[in-house]
């Protein structure tokens, strides 16, 4: 059972992200499109947040570690009412707070990233802090598959089960393409689920574009009491725009006018 609102949010966020990247002649649209469904389900059905009170102390904390893919997050936050959708036009412009790697100056963004492998350790601190202060909010961290090359992530992956951080959920946007090639050819992560199991995490694997599966995984947390949960979301880089799907090129390229029109048509954006 798909939820219309999350599907519609993902569709609109994708269309906005493509427009932002085209307007700013920016990169990284492929990794923004691959995680759009994760964000849509998180921000409609999972995260306990208040768009008009982004600093509400009891909010769930969401950290985007793959900060380069921030267009999809900015679009999702704007569509959820954290700031005006019109402001997205400022993305990447001189002096804009919507900088091209995710920024905590943007309402709803907890933590600035851009260098990979930073958000999960920070998330551990938030999860520990919540536990020690007897707070009930949860911590969600979204990483790319490529950034699991970073040693800092594995330091954190070793740490979280040691401290039984079951208020922490890690999402892996497993789109199988990293900066210079296929993950399998650069530094193969397989068998990734087994690696996490060996590190004592509770592991769920889902189709990262199937909202029912995402909702099922994300609303039954922790997957095992006393353990951190990792959700391996199998995704397609560039999902939703036919000529971008599974193409390394769209880690870098910005669509021209014709490509933008085609992308928006495919995404059902009829403006």
């Amino acid at each position: 059972m798909a939820t219309a609102s999350s599907v519609e949010l993902a569709r609109r966020a994708r269309a906005l992200a493509v427009q932002m990247v085209a307007r700013a002649k920016a990169s990284h649209i492929g990794g923004a499109l691959s995680m759009a469904d994760l964000l849509a389900v998180l921000y409609t059905e999972v995260l306990n947040v208040r768009p008009h009170d982004p600093a509400w102390p009891e909010r769930d904390r969401f950290l985007l570690s793959k900060g380069h893919a921030c267009t999809a997050l900015y679009a999702t936050l704007a569509l959820r009412g954290f700031f005006p959708v019109e402001e997205l036009e400022e993305y990447g412009r001189d002096g804009s707070r919507l900088m091209a790697h995710v920024s905590h100056r943007v309402p709803g963004v907890e933590f600035s990233t851009g260098s990979l492998g930073h958000a999960l350790p920070f998330g551990l601190g938030l999860a520990l802090g919540a536990r020690w202060r007897a707070a009930r909010h949860r911590v969600f961290v979204l990483v790319s598959d490529g950034e699991l090359d970073e040693g800092s992530n594995w330091e954190a992956i070793l740490f979280a089960p040691q401290h039984g951080l079951d208020n922490l959920t890690l999402l892996v946007d497993y789109n199988r393409i990293q900066s210079l090639g296929a993950v399998a050819e650069v530094l193969d992560l397989a068998p990734l689920a087994d690696k996490f199991r060996a590190f004592r995490w509770a592991v769920r694997e889902v189709d990262g574009h199937d909202h029912s599966q995402l909702r099922d995984a994300l609303t039954r947390l922790p997957a095992e009491p006393g353990r951190p949960t990792v959700i391996l979301a199998h995704t397609i880089k560039g999902k939703g725009v036919s000529y971008m799907e599974d193409q390394l090129l769209w880690h870098y390229k910005s669509p021209d006018a014709a490509q933008l029109a085609q992308a928006l048509a495919e995404l059902g954006d009829h403006r």
Binding site: H104, G125, F159
Partner: protein, 301 residues
């Protein structure tokens, strides 16, 4: 100094419920009393300094003032980007504490010679940088830090350093620890202040009243900081750090161009040697005799 640190930190933790200590699997026979008294404000992050610093930032964002603690270059250079991005950029109250400043761990070799930290960390303008010279200055630094949560760095020696002057509250200025009316002054930071004081006392005995300043406070160095060192023809900086980016460099950056600054620092070649701190200071010309020789050389032009 590490004993003075932990004793004062425990005292401050009793008054400041936000103080939290995260160690990088180091601090044997130092941190145990804190861990015993405050088990819910102590964490051993393991041998993983990037994660230690990142999670310290996360804890700081949860309302704690977190001190990360390790030795030599491990809590500073190993996780420099976490200090820069996670702590400084987000303006979070994390104090990085490194034990073993300069050549304190001299006989452990190059990996443990902490002689580039000031130069590197001073470029992070968000950090308050403190470098005490003795147990008294260490206690004053800890008291100040506990009352001023923010991104900060505390550079400590090791153990057994003598008290070099009367304890006083930390102020953001160099501290005059030996009075004098000479045109030249010795300015030191860290426990190598001892060499400067011994050299100055030797020339005082000859009637040459060279004053000595200690700089537990290095950053930010504002007008008040520089005013404390105004009026001298020459400042001779004494530091257990390489010349690049250290105290002499700071003096040149901060003081009017008219002030002549000379530096006594650790030559890189000395980091290739091993030996006790005393031995390596002698090799570097940073013992009392070395400072004395530089003073006399200045006088004879």
């Amino acid at each position: 100094m590490r004993t003075a640190f932990i004793q004062e930190f425990i005292r401050q933790a009793r008054e400041h419920p936000d103080l939290f200590l995260v160690v990088g699997d180091l601090g044997f026979s130092v941190v145990e009393p804190f861990a015993a008294e405050f088990p819910d404000r102590f964490l051993n992050a393991g041998v993983a300094e990037q994660n230690m610093t990142g999670l310290a930032a996360g804890l700081a964002a949860s309302g704690y003032h977190v001190f990360t603690y390790s030795i030599a270059n491990f809590p500073t250079l190993r996780c420099l980007e976490q200090i820069r991005n996670d702590v400084c950029y987000h303006g979070l109250p994390v104090t990085v504490v490194s034990v073993g400043a300069g050549l304190s761990y001299g006989n452990l070799g190059y990996s443990h010679h902490a002689v580039q930290d000031l130069g590197i960390l001073r470029t992070l303008g968000e950090l308050t940088v403190l470098s005490p010279a003795d147990p008294g200055e260490t206690r004053a630094c800890v008291r100040w830090l506990a009352n001023h949560p923010g991104p900060s760095y505390l550079r400590l020696g090791k153990a057994g350093e003598p008290e070099l002057h009367a304890e006083q509250p930390l102020e953001p200025v160099p501290v005059k620890v030996l009075d004098g009316n000479a045109e030249v002054a010795l300015v030191a930071t860290g426990s190598v202040l001892k060499s400067a004081l011994e050299a100055a006392r030797a020339v005082h005995a000859e009637g040459w009243q060279v004053p000595v300043f200690s700089c537990p406070w290095l950053q930010p160095a504002d007008e008040r900081w520089t005013a404390a060192l105004a009026g001298f023809r020459c400042l001779l900086a004494v530091e257990e750090h390489v010349a690049a980016g250290g105290l002499a460099s700071l003096l040149r950056d901060a003081l009017p161009p008219a002030a002549e600054v000379r530096g006594l620092a650790v030559p890189l070649a000395v980091t290739r040697q091993v030996g006790s701190q005393e031995y390596l200071r002698r090799q570097a010309g940073l013992d009392a005799a070395g400072v004395l020789a530089r003073l006399r050389a200045w006088r004879t032009g």
